[in-house]
């Protein structure tokens, strides 16, 4: 099958070409793998290229190890242990996607004789920097422009622009009014207090007028401030409410793959703390920034009109401070990012401890858990202390440098007054205005810290909001769920592109029939269920309902017609009534009771003192496993689904309870298309057809008797269970 080409014979231009990066010793190299006219060429650097014909090849497979992977050609009629496979090349995980696509091209060629190509967009690599795109994103975050934070901030405030501008206008007016006060102070000193020409009664009258004017201005300013603050608070509450809703909504819509990569502590911190940090920054700091920027400019003009050279002295330290802020910015951001990670870890561990408190207590590992949490808290404390110390070291220096301008003004201004170049009142006015100049600059010196916290939180929020939720390209908004036959056509799926979990799935299910899915753990039964439920989408092939591709039906329409009973029942905090009504909140009480009766749950519910109004905690701690399961069946009954999924619905129960639940399930499945998974084969005795899944493929289909007669995988499973049953007796 393999031939080495003479060095002079270079392969023709490749139809499909990919690169590999490891040699046969697992060292970095630069090689190419190309496919052309039914042959694969392997070229590693200056080595002689190898050529492999695909004649007599059954498939190309990718085997993934830890940090690396291989590509192998499997011959037809290969040895059972694949010891006659041909190793094509080795590569790092960076090449997985590319190689997965290459495998698809080759396997398609082997099956059909057609040569397809690799669409560049599926490689998910930035054409600019060559880095991989982060999962769920279609942009390279490394190359994304610097306006990202600004754009997203504007995106957040856009719905509130009008209200924010009004609040800013009020605070600006308040600020400008306050800025007039030093003019009256100067007038008070120069016109009245230092006057020798005026009579004492005129001086008193002047002082009173000045004082009254200052009092009036300050009062109006305070009123404006109060109104502005009230407005700002109202906007900020609406904004954080909106942001939390958007984030929570997105989390609900994200795929399971995406959500399972984040801890619950992490997600909770994003929804609660990060939205709060962003809200605080935008409304408080944003408003403050507007106010201070306008008053800074206004006062600067006034100062220049009084004395340009003294103004220059005031501003002399500003470039030094701004430069220092710029230089420290990166360090401060890294430090606050580290603090964020520590806080998130503490939250996650705390969440785990609280959630798993029963396990902890039953294993008597309280001390170990306390020590673990304690260590994390100490680590967080250490990071916080280090950050505060760093800040405490930087901030006083910045304040000191900033204050130098004040000393210079007092010295040179004082000399000017003594020498007669400036009036006392003017100097007083000047020094009073310094506050308006230095306050924004001092605030700017604290900005890196606030900005560090804000950008960290904003990025964490937009990591979720920007994530692509699912492929909606195929959805037809008018498509409806019309109950009918379900057809799997050549379905192939893997949670990772390079690891196929289900392949060559062809299955026809008549409307209203019950299908029992059987197979070893990890065979792909639950994956098949996930595809039917549309929690994931097929890599190739399709699932149709009544001839319509299920991907075209909008999720909310599809889910209204499906119901699932899992092995692990999850009951929400609330009453039994609320938990059953979760499937249909508008259900009439008589329907809830009917559903509970159908699920054999009504009896035990009525034995409880509060009946259907009994409060149950998270996970329904005060109910037994069987009772919880019956509530979840009642939930499914109330849904009145056309498509029902039973995923190990009775495997965690004792035989007596199971009997009662089986009765409930028998009522539920009647007339509905049902897919049921059960390890205890006896529980599938009512199934119309049994489908045996083995290593991701459908191995056998038929009724119980047919499959036993076949003496295949199913027959072996039945025998094994009978033996186990005998042993346990």
């Amino acid at each position: 099958m393999a031939q080495f080409l003479p060095k002079t014979e270079a392969p023709e231009p490749a139809e499909v070409k990919v690169g590999f990066d490891l040699n046969d010793k697992n060292e970095y190299c630069s090689g190419t793998l190309s496919f052309q006219h039914g042959q694969i060429f392997v070229q590693n650097g200056s080595e002689a290229p190898r050529r492999y014909s695909l004649t007599n090849v059954s498939e190309i497979v990718q085997r993934t190890f830890s940090g690396c992977s291989t590509l192998e050609l499997v011959p037809q009629n290969h040895a059972e242990d694949f010891s006659d496979s041909i190793m094509l090349c080795r590569f790092s995980m960076s090449k997985l996607n590319e190689m997965g696509e290459f495998c698809k091209v080759i396997n398609h060629y082997i099956e059909t004789g057609e040569t397809t190509s690799i669409p560049p967009e599926v490689l998910r690599v930035c054409p600019k920097c060559g880095r991989s795109y982060a999962k769920g994103l279609e942009v390279c975050l490394f190359c994304v422009d610097r306006g990202y934070v600004l754009r997203h901030t504007l995106d957040l405030v856009r719905p509130y622009v009008g209200k924010l501008l009004f609040a800013s206008l009020l605070i600006t007016v308040a600020s400008l009014l306050s800025a007039i006060v030093p003019v009256f102070n100067a007038r008070l000193v120069d016109t009245y207090l230092n006057s020798t020409a005026l009579s004492s009664s005129e001086i008193v009258a002047g002082v009173v007028r000045c004082a009254a004017a200052i009092g009036l201005i300050q009062s109006v300013s305070v009123i404006f401030r109060i109104i502005s603050q009230r407005r700002a608070n109202r906007i900020s509450c609406a904004m954080s409410d909106d942001l939390r809703k958007r984030l929570y909504d997105k989390i609900q819509r994200l795929s399971l793959t995406s959500i399972s990569k984040k801890t619950s502590g992490d997600l909770m911190k994003r929804v609660t703390n990060d939205t709060e940090t962003v809200r605080n920054f935008i409304t408080n700091q944003g408003l403050y920034a507007v106010e201070k920027a306008i008053s800074f400019l206004a006062v600067l003009i006034i100062l220049i009109s009084i004395s340009p050279w003294l103004t220059l002295l005031v501003l002399a330290p500003a470039p030094i401070v701004l430069f220092a802020i710029y230089k420290f910015w990166s360090t401060i951001r890294i430090r606050y990012n580290r603090q964020w990670r520590c806080e998130s870890r503490v939250n996650s561990v705390l969440h785990d401890i609280v959630k798993g408190i029963r396990v902890i207590k039953s294993f008597g590992t309280e001390k170990r858990e306390i020590a673990k949490f304690d260590a994390l808290c100490k680590r967080l404390c250490k990071v916080c202390v280090s950050n505060e110390q760093f800040w405490a070291m930087i901030f006083p220096y910045l304040t000191f440098v900033m204050g130098i301008g004040e000393f210079l003004v007092l010295y040179f201004g004082g000399r000017a007054v003594i020498e007669g170049g400036m009036k006392t009142g003017q100097l007083l006015e000047f020094t009073l205005y310094l506050v308006y100049i230095y306050q924004p600059l001092r605030w700017a010196s604290t900005l890196p810290r606030r900005l560090g916290e804000f950008t960290t939180s904003l990025i964490k929020i937009f990591e979720i909001l920007d994530e692509k939720s699912e492929n909606n390209d195929l959805i037809d908004p008018n498509a409806d769920f019309v109950p009918g036959d379900i057809e799997f056509s050549n379905v192939r799926f893997g949670y990772k592109t390079y690891e196929t979990v289900l392949k060559d799935i062809d299955l026809h299910v008549d409307k209203g029939k019950m299908i029992g899915l059987v197979g070893h753990s990890g065979a792909g039964k639950s994956t098949l269920i996930n595809l039917i439920l549309r929690l994931y989408e097929t890599d190739s092939g399709k699932i149709t309902l009544n001839g319509v591709d299920i991907r075209t039906i909008p999720q909310e329409v599809y889910r209204k017609h499906t119901a699932v009973v899992f092995q692990e029942t999850f009951l929400f905090m609330g009453t039994i009534y609320d938990n059953i009504a979760y499937a249909r909140p508008d259900a009439h009480p008589s329907e809830i009771i009917a559903a509970a009766k159908a699920a054999n749950a009504h009896g035990f519910i009525m034995d409880l003192p509060d009946g259907y109004n009994t409060l149950i905690g998270e996970d329904g701690h005060n109910l037994s496993g069987g009772e919880r399961q019956r509530i979840s069946i009642a939930r499914a009954v109330l849904r009145n689904p056309d498509l029902l999924i039973l995923d190990e619905a009775t495997s965690a129960l004792d035989p007596e309870t199971e009997q009662s639940i089986q009765e409930a399930l028998a009522k539920l499945v009647k007339g509905r298309t049902t897919f049921a998974i059960a390890h205890r084969l006896a529980t599938l005795k009512n199934a119309d057809t049994l489908v045996v899944i083995d290593k991701g493929r459908i191995a056998e289909t038929g009724t119980h008797n047919e499959l036993v007669a076949k003496n295949g995988i199913y027959a072996k499973l039945v025998k094994a269970q009978r033996q186990t049953a005998k042993l346990t007796k």
Binding site: S66, D81, S94, N337, R338
Partner: protein, 171 residues
């Protein structure tokens, strides 16, 4: 045996002794083994404790991942056999060792590493440092967004300049 309280017999764990297990390289270049008189032309070797004890508890299984037995200590085997086992493990576990850190940049919640692995310069991206930078004694293992693994063997041994770049990103 593993512990005094739990014997392998109790747990039905098949520990492979050097005298009943011989590894070899098959004609196709795969590692095979003859175990207790049964010939397997292709076996898989997997570390049970890749971080804690990479030289101990190496599982031997067939290509379908059915476990044949466990090597308790690789060092119990002859030198020639150890070489074969190590060669196979090196091919299964690709964890290049970082010799120098050129830069670490943070952008939009992702961390961009530019490092040197021997003479080769590599760039990779890490997301969620708390999950993907793990410390095991003196070793630091880093997993990038593609699933590649990198190791820093002994943080104190790398250049101070490089260490300073990494430290803010460790807990």
């Amino acid at each position: 045996m593993a512990t005094d309280t739990i014997s392998p017999e109790t747990l039905k764990t098949e520990y492979l002794r050097p005298d009943e297990c011989v590894f070899y390289v098959s004609n196709a270049g795969f590692i095979g083994a003859e175990i207790k008189g049964v010939r397997y032309d292709r076996v898989l070797l997997k570390r049970a404790l890749p971080f804690g004890a990479p030289e101990d508890y190496v599982c031997v299984s067939d290509i379908e991942k059915n476990e044949i037995g466990i090597i308790e200590h690789v060092s119990d085997f002859s030198e020639e056999q150890q070489t074969l086992i190590h060669k196979e493990l090196t091919l299964r576990y690709f964890t290049p060792v970082i010799s120098d850190i050129i830069s670490i940049k943070e952008k939009m919640g992702h961390f961009y590493f530019d490092v040197k692995i021997g003479d080769v310069q590599k760039s990779f991206t890490v997301k969620d440092l708390s999950k993907n930078v793990r410390m095991h004694g003196e070793n630091i293992d880093i997993i990038d967004i593609d699933g590649n693994r990198y190791r820093i063997e002994d943080l104190s041994a790398i250049a101070t300049r490089a260490r300073r770049k990494l430290e803010p990103y460790l807990y």
